[in-house]
Symmetry: C2
Subunit: 157 residues, 2 copies
């Protein structure tokens, strides 16, 4: 029975890259659960979507769609920074990970993090980093991360 449930979940919750039609599947409303995220027009969404898409593998947004509800229930992004250090090494930066409040407890966050980490590894990064609150430390430790430094911020607005 257990494996059937897992299989059913895999069919219901599809992990993939962001598509332009995801704006109509609640992608922006999901981001609103993360932080300040005003609604934007379809044109604004399309412009940013195409801009990010032009970066190819250097900027990827992962989503999980609940195909039963046609709804995006989890997301996260990773972009690849190119450096001179570490023999012109690359670093993956994970940002904006969020799981819908109605879809917690199904390991969807772990799936998103795994997708982004795998992407960073496959594009040749020597490490992947992210900033999170103390509250989320345990979650990322379960995903194989360790705390290293502190994050400093300066706001302009």
């Amino acid at each position: 029975m257990e494996s059937n449930t897992a299989s059913t979940d895999d069919q219901r919750y599809q992990v993939r890259k962001l598509e332009i039609t995801d704006k109509n599947k609640g992608f922006m409303e999901l981001l609103q659960q993360l932080t300040v995220c005003n609604s934007i027009t379809d044109d604004e969404f399309q412009t940013r979507f195409e801009e990010l898409k032009s970066y190819g593998d250097d900027h990827v947004i992962c989503v999980i769609e609940d195909v039963k509800l046609c709804k995006i229930v989890a997301t996260g992004s990773v972009f690849i920074e190119k450096k001179f250090i570490r023999s012109c090494g690359k670093v993956g930066h994970i940002e904006d990970v969020v799981v819908d409040s109605g879809a917690r407890g199904m390991q969807l966050g772990k799936k998103v993090a795994g997708f982004l980490v795998d992407h960073a590894r496959l594009t040749g990064c020597y490490k992947v980093i992210l900033d999170c609150s103390e509250d989320n430390r345990a979650f990322y430790e379960k995903c194989g991360f360790k705390q290293k430094e502190i994050q400093m911020v300066k706001y302009f607005i």
Copy 2:
């Protein structure tokens, strides 16, 4: 006298963007004071330099040259991340800030940070962030930053 000294320093320590000839002025050796940074060939340097230059204002490396010694004595980079949150907002990420051990105590680190922060502000970012050790917290607080989150890392090699 004091203003003359300041003026002389301004002439001696020139703040500008990285140029391709900076490899011959100790740019890579300076980065070696920051972290693991193997030497790279001129071709490898040129390839990465041109790749980063193609990003225009979205990736900028600041250097300070001691024009008396023809030597790069401080550097730091900032890249601009484009998001969907905050009305398709942008965030500046500061990385790889280092001052030559023989050129400390002259506020060169503050000048580099100021250059990078100004760049992020002028390109329309709503905030600028960086990760640093506890030891460097006080320095960045003097530059107007505040601690917000913690940095998590996962190494692949």
